[in-house]
């Protein structure tokens, strides 16, 4: 009895998590434009998607911004962690607090303040401003996931490397960096998803004619969202799913695979 209840419970949760995505995928094959009627199976929307330059450009923008902003934020965030690690306790906790605030801050506040900042500096709105904003809100996430690894770091190994004649830079890349890598990777992934997801900050800091997927979809509200978007969303979902399956199935379960990385990180976070 108890196990049946457990199973039903889990099934319900999975249903609520995945039913929306399932419906979206079914609708992406619907010949009729409306969700209310099944007009027969078609691949038309997938074809139309790859001919729709605007959507493809928005997709490219989204991926480009997500990749660049998370890469740059990862570098800046990691460097910041190294610096913060060398500081006195007091200064460190003050700085940690400061970097945490933007994460708790509502997106709309961040978005509007960034917009005002750019206006007052006279910066032209465009891809550049979106990228700057995304880097800005990504840095705290990187710091958040690298910092715990930093704390566990054994300083003696680094000092030993120096004693044995290594230059500080060399010692860092050979000794410290490999220890930090899981934290850096999960920070990067987190920053990437945050950037991919963002609508509000992008909305306020984007220039004319530059759209990411989220802002593009939002403008379609008046006339109803086009089924091409269903097709695109299904493709993205399937890609992510396949990637996850592949990563988890990889034969030699390396330490740096996403699964272990996440669990390790979770258990170490403060």
């Amino acid at each position: 009895m108890k196990t049946i209840a457990k199973r039903i419970y889990v099934a319900l949760i999975i249903l609520f998590l995945y039913a929306p995505i399932g419906i979206l995928m079914v609708l992406s094959f619907n010949r009729s434009k409306t969700r209310a009627k099944w007009g027969g199976f078609t691949l038309h929307w997938y074809r139309a998607l790859f001919q729709n330059e605007e959507i493809l450009r928005a997709l490219l923008n989204t991926l480009l911004i997500a990749l660049l902003s998370s890469l740059i934020a990862t570098v800046i965030g990691t460097v910041a962690c190294i610096a913060m690690n060398g500081m006195k306790r007091r200064a460190k906790s003050v700085l940690m607090g400061i970097t945490n605030i933007p994460m708790l801050n509502a997106d709309i506040v961040t978005g509007i303040s960034l917009m005002l900042l750019y206006i007052s500096l006279g910066i032209k709105f465009g891809m550049g401003t979106i990228l700057l904003s995304h880097i800005t809100f990504n840095i705290p996430y990187v710091i958040l996931s690298v910092m715990p690894r930093m704390k566990q770091l054994n300083v003696s190994t680094y000092e030993a490397a120096l004693d044995l004649g290594s230059s500080p830079l060399h010692a860092f890349f050979k000794v410290v960096f490999p220890d930090l890598l899981p934290g850096i990777l999960s920070g990067f992934l987190m920053a990437f998803t945050m950037s991919l997801d963002d609508f509000i900050i992008t909305h306020f800091t984007k220039g004319v004619g530059v759209d990411t997927l989220s802002t593009k979809i939002y403008t379609e509200i008046k006339k109803g969202i086009k089924p091409e978007m269903y097709a695109l969303s299904s493709l993205i979902f399937v890609t992510v799913l396949t990637l996850l399956v592949l990563v988890n199935l990889s034969p030699t379960d390396k330490k740096s695979s996403v699964g272990t990385l996440d669990s390790e990180n979770a258990s170490h976070s403060p």
Partner: protein, 358 residues
């Protein structure tokens, strides 16, 4: 000293942005031979092909941006983050922009197609929000009416009053927006839909509260899908959606209620601080050309005020459609929204909250 530092920060920030944007998107910064024009329009509200044609014919690069509601367009234009040349707001938002001095007067001499192709009755209707036709050139328009499923009602629906008929309890869809909801009640009471009279507003509010138990849902764009799927018998809908829903479900009928209704008009306006005013005039003139207006009509499917374009429509059924092109003179009591001022907006919102919370 401080000034110097500020200058330095500004310089380096600007340099960084230029560097980044140049690296990322060398394409967007190049201008056409004859400069550029920056257009701010509703999403999915133009045939993209027409933009390419304009660029080719005039050598002017179109930088095209989209918004989703009048309310989200306004602050972006006002903030000046981007100096747009042209926008395409709705009636009441245009009156607000006129009141706040954000628009530039139209020089009809440079836009000959406007007076030539656009029906005089639409300019007349625009006087509601632009009294001297100085600022706005109609682009799309439509009515708000009732869409009903003839298999689900006992007699034809002809007036707003039937939305209060208990027969149709739980089968009615209302618009979930203040102005559209109050418009229905105000028209039924025989008042203006732009009224600010407390007694009239109170009456409208009470009417809406009375109707509430009969309403299946207050929705915005789900009316379309719900009506096609036969989930409700009667819905308040914009005429632009009606033709599409009828194609999907032939049982649906659209009517303009006897008590009168809202005629909405989305129009091109040139902004006061437009950097490329001449190009903006050329762009609007191009959009008013009959063949271009026809392309846009076929893409958007909302009624076009362009009489010459309507003549070119090949499908007789659409050309003479009572839904797409109702003869406005046949209906009494048609109105267009005007901006009610901040206090007016506040008043309406408070009353609407009372209705929703009741």
């Amino acid at each position: 000293m401080k000034k110097h530092r500020m200058y330095y920060i500004r310089q380096s920030a600007a340099a960084l942005t230029i560097l980044l944007s140049a690296a990322l998107c060398g394409c967007s910064s190049d201008k056409g031979v004859n400069g550029q024009v920056i257009v701010y329009n509703w999403g999915e509200y133009i045939d993209p092909e027409t933009l390419l044609m304009f660029e080719e014919e005039y050598g002017i690069k179109v930088i095209y941006d989209e918004f989703e509601t009048n309310e989200s367009m306004y602050p972006k234009v006002e903030s000046g983050a981007v100096a747009y040349d042209i926008a395409c707001p709705s009636d009441y938002m245009i009156s607000r922009m006129i009141q706040n001095g954000m628009l530039s007067e139209i020089n009809y001499g440079n836009i000959p197609n406007a007076k030539k192709n656009i029906g005089a009755q639409y300019f007349e209707q625009s006087r509601g929000f632009d009294p001297e036709n100085k600022y706005a050139i109609p682009y799309c328009w439509g009515t708000v009416g009732i869409l009903y499923n003839r298999t689900m009602v006992e007699e034809p629906i002809t007036c707003w009053e039937q939305l209060w008929d208990e027969k149709y309890a739980d089968n009615i869809l209302m618009q979930d927006s203040v102005r559209d909801a109050f418009m229905v009640a105000e028209k039924l009471n025989g008042h203006s839909m732009n009224t600010l009279d407390p007694a009239e507003l109170e009456a409208a509010k009470n009417l809406l509260i009375e109707q509430k138990p009969l309403v299946q849902a207050y929705v915005v764009d789900q009316v379309r899908d719900k009506m096609i799927g036969g989930e409700a018998a009667i819905g308040v809908i914009y005429s632009g959606e009606a033709i599409y829903t009828q194609k999907e479900n032939p049982d649906l009928v659209y009517v303009i209620p006897e008590e009168g209704t809202n005629v909405w008009i989305d129009s091109w306006v040139i902004l006061k601080n437009a950097p490329n005013k001449e190009n903006a005039e050329k762009f609007i003139n191009f959009m008013c050309r009959e063949d271009i207006a026809l392309m846009n009509f076929e893409y958007i499917t909302y009624s076009t005020p362009n009489v010459a374009a309507r003549e070119l429509i090949e499908e007789e059924e659409i050309k003479n459609s009572e839904i797409a092109f109702p003869d406005l003179s046949q209906y009494g009591n048609l109105e267009t929204y005007v901006y009610l001022g901040e206090d007016g907006d506040y008043l309406y919102n408070e009353l609407w909250k009372e209705v929703k919370a009741y």
